[in-house]
């Protein structure tokens, strides 16, 4: 049983309410932080903990905090990114739904560290019922003196405001989120300036993921050094993984990042293996934006070493033979799944979610979807596969925000590792309408011309 820091108490009866949460040891980190620590000391602890952003990019949280500009007389803001719209990712929902006070507690400590008197939770519009849960938790915290004016007599004031999004994936990108929070159209901003200098209403702002901010609670309780001992290398602490697809036990798991991918998929403690005795074909280990890996490269790296569920190991081999930890959305495909169809459904998603500001993403995502549709429905040409490759290449790196990359990578990885399946669709337009390609040979990554 691996150590749990976030979800340990998530299923205690009534933990959603302040009294139970408090009785179970909740809000101790706020007492410790506000009474015994300076904001700088908290930032220092978070740095020591090695905590990396859980929203996708894995940027060290303490470092991000230390970048926040502190001009005299200008308010600063902490914004919690609860937009969680990446296909396959539903860990933040679970945390907020079952143990909302953990997030509120993390937010209070983090707000104190950053000097944010008005802190925002920007939540995905579809999570409407969670808004009520959070608002209830905020009210309870306020009634008990953990929010509002002069918290615990420390002189620190803080309010938390919940703002609902209107259902756009792009509003999870931090600068689009800020625009949306300001009441504008959620178009990502052109950086620089970075939010740490000019964020919400041009004030210095830190945007962090729900899980990142919740993890601040155990870090303060146990100390950064202790936290850093859990996990391995630069993958410290525990990570929430939302597992879905062809597995026996879909759900949210908290892991310490030392277990192997194989154990995660097959052990009964986690996914519990693949139903109906089917074989594993492929997996997207970190949410829809990260590269898909065929089974052989998923369980072992290209060097033949065991692959583990952590930032470094999942990325081993770069994009040629590795993937990313991303946001922890773990999507498993068994032998009956069609990679072409799967790639098409992701392409459709990105086309629909592109904000449309920059031409490569706006036009390229739609183009890729149309070509993939042709291939999937038996109207593809061999040259379409190279064309897809060329389109994704021209989007990647040439856009304002990473959604362009996120749209390009799944297509690139699918062609890189499953080109034979694409070719089979083209060469067997009728058969491909009736049956799936199956496992075929994914023994070796298929050579794809670089560039």
């Amino acid at each position: 049983m691996s150590k749990k820091l976030l979800l340990e108490k998530a299923h205690v009866e009534g933990i959603r309410y302040f009294d139970v949460y408090r009785r179970e040891g909740g809000y101790r980190s706020v007492e410790k932080a506000l009474k015994e620590m300076s904001p700088e000391a908290i930032v220092e602890e978070v740095k020591k903990s090695g905590l990396r952003g859980r929203g996708g990019a894995g940027f060290p949280a303490g470092m991000k905090w230390s970048f926040i500009a502190k001009p005299e007389g200008v308010p600063r803001h902490l914004v919690c990114n609860a937009d969680e719209s990446e296909p396959g990712t539903f860990k933040d929902r679970y945390l907020m739904e079952f143990i909302p006070h953990l997030l509120i507690e993390g937010l209070i400590v983090s707000s104190f560290a950053l000097g944010s008197n008005d802190t925002y939770i920007y939540i995905r519009g579809e999570y409407a019922w969670i808004v009520d849960i959070l608002e209830q938790a905020i009210t309870e915290a306020k009634n008990n003196g953990f929010l509002g004016k002069n918290i615990l007599g420390s002189g620190f004031d803080c309010d938390i405001h919940v703002q609902r999004g209107a259902g756009a994936y792009i509003c999870g990108e931090e600068t689009a989120l800020i625009e949306s929070l300001e009441g504008k159209r959620g178009n990502p901003r052109i950086k620089p300036p970075f939010p740490a200098v000019k964020g919400v209403w041009d004030r210095p702002t830190v945007v962090n993921n729900v899980e990142t901010l919740a993890a601040v609670v155990p870090i303060i309780n146990m100390g950064g050094d202790e936290y850093a001992k859990i996990g391995v290398g630069r993958s410290t602490g525990t990570k929430l993984i939302s597992a879905c697809g062809n597995i026996n036990k879909p759900g949210v798991y908290e892991i310490d990042m030392t277990i192997s991918v194989e154990e995660f998929i097959y052990s009964d403690e986690y996914c519990g293996g693949i139903p109906n005795g089917k074989k594993l074909k492929a997996c997207i280990p970190g949410g829809s934006s990260v590269p898909i890996l065929p089974a052989n490269l998923l369980l072992k790296t290209a060097k033949g070493e065991t692959r583990y569920m952590n930032y470094e190991s999942l990325a081993d081999g770069g994009f040629a033979s590795g993937s990313m930890m991303g946001s922890g959305g773990f999507i498993v495909l068994d032998e009956d799944q069609c990679v072409v169809r799967h790639t098409l459904s992701l392409a459709r998603f990105y086309r629909h979610e592109s904000c449309g500001q920059c031409s490569p993403c706006r036009e390229g995502t739609g183009w890729m979807e149309k070509i993939l549709k042709n291939i999937e429905y038996g109207n593809g040409k061999m040259s379409d596969i190279d064309l897809l490759w060329d389109i994704q290449r021209k989007i990647e790196g040439n856009t304002i925000c990473p959604l362009g990359d996120a749209a390009a990578w799944p297509v690139a990885a699918a062609i890189r590792h499953f080109r034979d399946e694409f070719e089979w669709h083209v060469l067997n337009p009728e058969e491909s309408q009736e049956r799936n390609y199956g496992l075929a040979h994914y023994a070796d990554p298929i050579h794809v011309p670089v560039g």
Partner: protein, 373 residues
């Protein structure tokens, strides 16, 4: 040393120039001029916040600065990246840039109807210029192009979204020249469209300027639509005493008849500054209502900017001039074009040696009479 006096040395395509700190790579390159200046479809120096969107101005920064010589990992939008001292930039000397730019041009043309023959903007369209200079022949796009219905936004302006490249210039113009936020973008991605707040007509003294900033034929002047081709008109600078704006305009005449009025544009296609250093936006009265020569004091002929297709006279046989795969009816909601003037076939006016601004009274010049009447 104050910030304003500080000069940074920047080398673009092996040409070194000194510019004040805070200058963007694009503006530094424009100072050098010629091919070193990257094409810019969305940036507009007179509009705050513009740029960064179209990605045509991407360049490679091969050396970050004297202090931090590391190259930048990705291509950057030159219109939104400021120079550093000692920076080295590659524009047309970078394979990567040329490749990415060709990609961007292809993306911009992907859903464009390529209906230049029936488009009022033809001849002074920045997208047309861009595809001549940076595009590839033919498209790899085999799908139905997206279309939109035409909208009238007010009595003078027509919006034809089908041609829009979503550069946002008109949005910034409407935001910054008028006090209300009523012109913006609805929806997102490739289905995003420019719209006025619930189909409202825009009534503001300066709203006509959206026509001048639009790089393509998406926003056009209804008082001019289909009246004439721009290359049959002769641009002359003129002014009048206007209570609302500077009254400094360009008239587009044929003989003595004023066909349209626009702001004066510089070589980058942006409105020129007036002598007091402010952008020379013009008001609706000057633009739409003063259509008699007697309304104006004529100053003299105006040179046409170096980029424009009309000034270079190369319509045919160049890159990017491929015809759309669909018929015009398909891109025009089933309607047949009323009038077809194919700028792709060579016309007499388009000869390179013909300098439009040197012809007097082009409408009745010999050159025109042979082909048109």
């Amino acid at each position: 040393m104050s910030d304003q006096q500080q000069l940074f040395k920047v080398t673009i395509d092996n040409i070194t120039i000194e510019v004040p700190a805070g200058t963007t790579i694009l503006n530094a390159a424009r100072k050098i001029g010629g091919d070193v200046a990257p094409p810019a479809m969305c940036y507009y120096s007179k509009l705050e916040g513009s740029g960064g969107k179209c990605r045509t101005c991407l360049v490679e920064v091969s050396k970050g600065s004297e202090k931090d010589p590391r190259p930048m990992p990705k291509l950057v939008a030159s219109c939104r990246t400021t120079v550093m001292d000692g920076m080295e930039v590659k524009n047309i000397t970078s394979e990567k840039v040329l490749d990415a730019r060709a990609g961007v041009v292809e993306f911009l043309l992907l859903n464009h109807p390529l209906d230049c023959p029936i488009c009022d903007q033809a001849g002074e369209c920045h997208l047309q210029d861009l595809s001549y200079e940076h595009g590839k022949e033919g498209t790899r796009y085999e799908f139905q192009r997206r279309t939109f219905k035409k909208h009238d936004i007010g009595p003078y302006i027509q919006l034809h979204m089908t041609r829009c490249i979503l550069c946002y210039r008109c949005v910034f113009t409407a935001d910054q020249l008028t006090k209300k936020r009523e012109h913006g973008v609805l929806d997102r991605g490739d289905h995003a469209e420019i719209a006025t707040f619930i189909e409202k007509s825009l009534e503001n003294d300066f709203i006509g300027n959206v026509i001048d900033v639009c790089p393509v034929g998406a926003l056009t002047d209804k008082t001019f639509r289909f009246k004439n081709r721009v290359w049959f008109l002769k641009p002359v600078d003129a002014h009048r005493d206007c209570p609302t704006c500077s009254g400094r305009v360009t008239l587009w005449n044929r003989g003595d008849e004023v066909f349209r009025v626009t702001a004066r544009k510089d070589e980058w296609g942006e409105v020129e500054d007036t002598p007091d250093g402010k952008p020379g936006w013009i008001c609706n009265t000057c633009r739409f209502e003063k259509k008699k020569t007697s309304d104006w004091v004529i100053e003299g002929p105006r040179l046409i900017n170096r980029h424009s297709v009309i000034s270079q006279g190369h319509y045919a046989g160049k890159v990017g001039t491929h015809m759309p795969t669909e018929t015009f009816e398909a891109v025009n909601d089933g309607r047949k074009p009323k009038l077809l003037m194919d700028i792709h076939s060579v016309s007499e006016v388009n000869k390179p040696e013909v300098q439009l601004s040197l012809i007097d009274g082009p409408a009745h010049s010999k050159v025109f009479n042979q082909n048109n009447d």
